[in-house]
Symmetry: C2
Subunit: 356 residues, 2 copies
């Protein structure tokens, strides 16, 4: 009798549940923190014509390096310290695969994006969670506590703004953290455009800082799966040994490169989201709920009236899909709503008002 | 004094050199085993119009599963045992990351695609190479020897047709191998269309068999980075726990799905390549070189006249870029030339004749 194929999988993976957001479609989808608007049609037209004229049968040999160069120029960082991937997730996984050995320690915030801990555990790392919730009920990054937990750890992995709380770290705190941790400090800046955050200037002084960026949020290109990593060139040289050749498709490189040339589109979306975020938070508060401060394109809110899962289901029955995060640490009463276009936000607020 | 960032990288990665094919452009590029022809313009037009009308700001939530379903239907395998990735390389890396712990043994053929051993070594596995070259100078898969080397190993990773030799395994041998190995047996079928190979029917009887496929060769979509994995559903369920969500972009899923609906294009390219492969091999032999039998869209050949690297450089000076594989085991005198469109093959043959 021979061993079944799944028995060859690492023991650290077997007990895990796969990451998966709710996949029910809904008329008003506010559960994925997507951009409130698409890339404009005139820009899409230019790009698909360029795509039509390109040779699809050729490997994208230089496309990724060219995109990395453009990203580095825009961010003011070293191209040798810039990498691109299929979403920032690919680069996050690359960093974990390249550094973690069984038993290594990884520090994450609780609550935070579930994928950080999932991927670290899959590789046999032990995950230490530092709570963001304070005694007064607010969320903040306890820098000293994180630095202490990082002693002897290989990696600290945080998101700022943090998903799903919206909690944002100041640049001063980010610098203090990177300066006081002996571990590599990875900060996922996926939502940075919605609060004007930019930790790239910290890279010059902090060799162990690793930043992740994405084209899926304010750049409105989630369908293309494009992300970036900024880090010390000496670290990137090692990561490149494990990264797969031509990892990013030619269409993704083509579109992403062009989007970098249109910062005005990002500014416009960020402005809209910030205004709508204030409006939605104020309305939620008016309904007797507690919204938490957010630097991202979503708002975490709590209410005492009904179980979070019941309210989530009721909103879904009204055609509005938001995210039930109430199973996460310290979030027993919390739901997360993405900030969409004004009409979608109106639909959400009307549904919420009707249910409360 | 604090540790430099690269010191956090696994010791098994530090000594490795990154994988990288020659990147010099050339008028006649026959070094990447790309398709001899692009996707036809009428099909490209339909696809870019569909792309234009899609919403780029949305995550490709269902696109990958839909593509996997279409692939499974075409191949006659279980959709639950089908996965898609950014090139077959992503899926190969996923299998390695999900199964290998430091010290595990992986069996590969020598010579074979360098990425197999590179990725396995990066994860701390020890790589056992089984030589394909026989005493008479020919290449073949020594099935019993491979099965013996696989005792106590976690994985066997082979390519059929094998890159860079072109050596092709029979379905009978593939079944015998999968049946006699206690390890998982991964077979990369990237070049299968050029010899009519199809190991998918073996999956039903062989639970530990894992097949890799690609859209980069006979499907003429290397720019899109799309590959597939077929394996036991119980193994795929574990791999999905580590695979990143929405790993494949919407444009890639869109194009790949449509290409599956046009098997006549693949058949036409495969027929052209097979005919040109015979013609190129015969001409090479006429110049006094020794071409090896190939089931792929390339031919490995040897000659006694000049050092392989010198001949490679001379051809490049004539505008023809082929692959110098002479540093690989048992290939001291060998070069590999991709089979391109007839005009490109003519240019190669003219350059070779002029140099010999």
């Amino acid at each position: 009798m021979s061993a079944p194929p799944e028995s060859f999988v690492r023991r650290t993976i077997r007990p895990l549940a796969p990451y998966g957001p709710p996949r029910d479609p809904a008329p008003v989808p506010l559960h994925l923190n997507e951009s409130p608007s698409d890339v404009p049609d005139d820009l899409k037209r230019v790009l698909v014509e360029r795509l039509f004229r390109s040779d699809w049968s050729k490997y994208p040999i230089v496309d990724g390096a060219r995109l990395a160069g453009a990203l580095a120029a825009v961010a003011g960082v070293d191209p040798a310290g810039t990498m691109v991937g299929n979403g920032s997730n690919e680069l996050l996984q690359l960093l974990l695969v390249a550094t973690l050995e069984p038993g290594d320690r990884v520090v994450v915030a609780a609550p935070s994006f579930a994928l950080y801990a999932l991927q670290a555990r899959a590789l046999g790392a032990s995950v230490v969670e530092v709570r963001l919730r304070q005694r007064d009920g607010s969320f903040r990054f306890p820098i000293d506590e994180i630095a202490q937990a990082a002693q002897g750890a290989k990696l600290v992995l945080l998101g700022s703004p943090n998903n799903p709380t919206g909690t944002t770290m100041t640049a001063v705190d980010a610098g203090r953290l990177a300066g006081s941790c002996e571990a590599l400090v990875g900060i996922d800046e996926a939502y940075r455009d919605f609060c004007g955050q930019d930790f790239a200037p910290l890279l010059a002084a902090h060799q162990r800082l690793v930043l992740f960026r994405t084209f899926s949020k304010a750049l409105a290109a989630a369908s293309l799966r494009c992300g970036a990593l900024f880090a010390a060139p000496s670290l990137c040289a090692e990561l490149r040994k494990v990264q797969l050749p031509y990892n990013l498709s030619a269409p993704t490189c083509l579109v992403a490169g062009e989007l970098l040339a249109h910062p005005e589109l990002v500014r416009e979306r960020a402005r809209l989201v910030a205004a709508e975020r204030d409006r939605v938070a104020a309305a939620i508060r008016g309904f007797g709920c507690t919204p938490h401060p957010s630097g991202a394109n979503f708002v975490l809110f709590e209410q005492e009236e009904r179980p979070a899962s019941a309210l989530h289901a009721a909103l879904f029955r009204r055609g509005v899909l938001i995210r039930d995060v109430s199973s996460a640490p310290d979030l027993g009463k919390a739901l997360r709503v993405s900030i969409g276009a004004p009409a979608a936000n109106d639909a959400f607020l009307a549904a919420l008002e009707a249910e409360l």
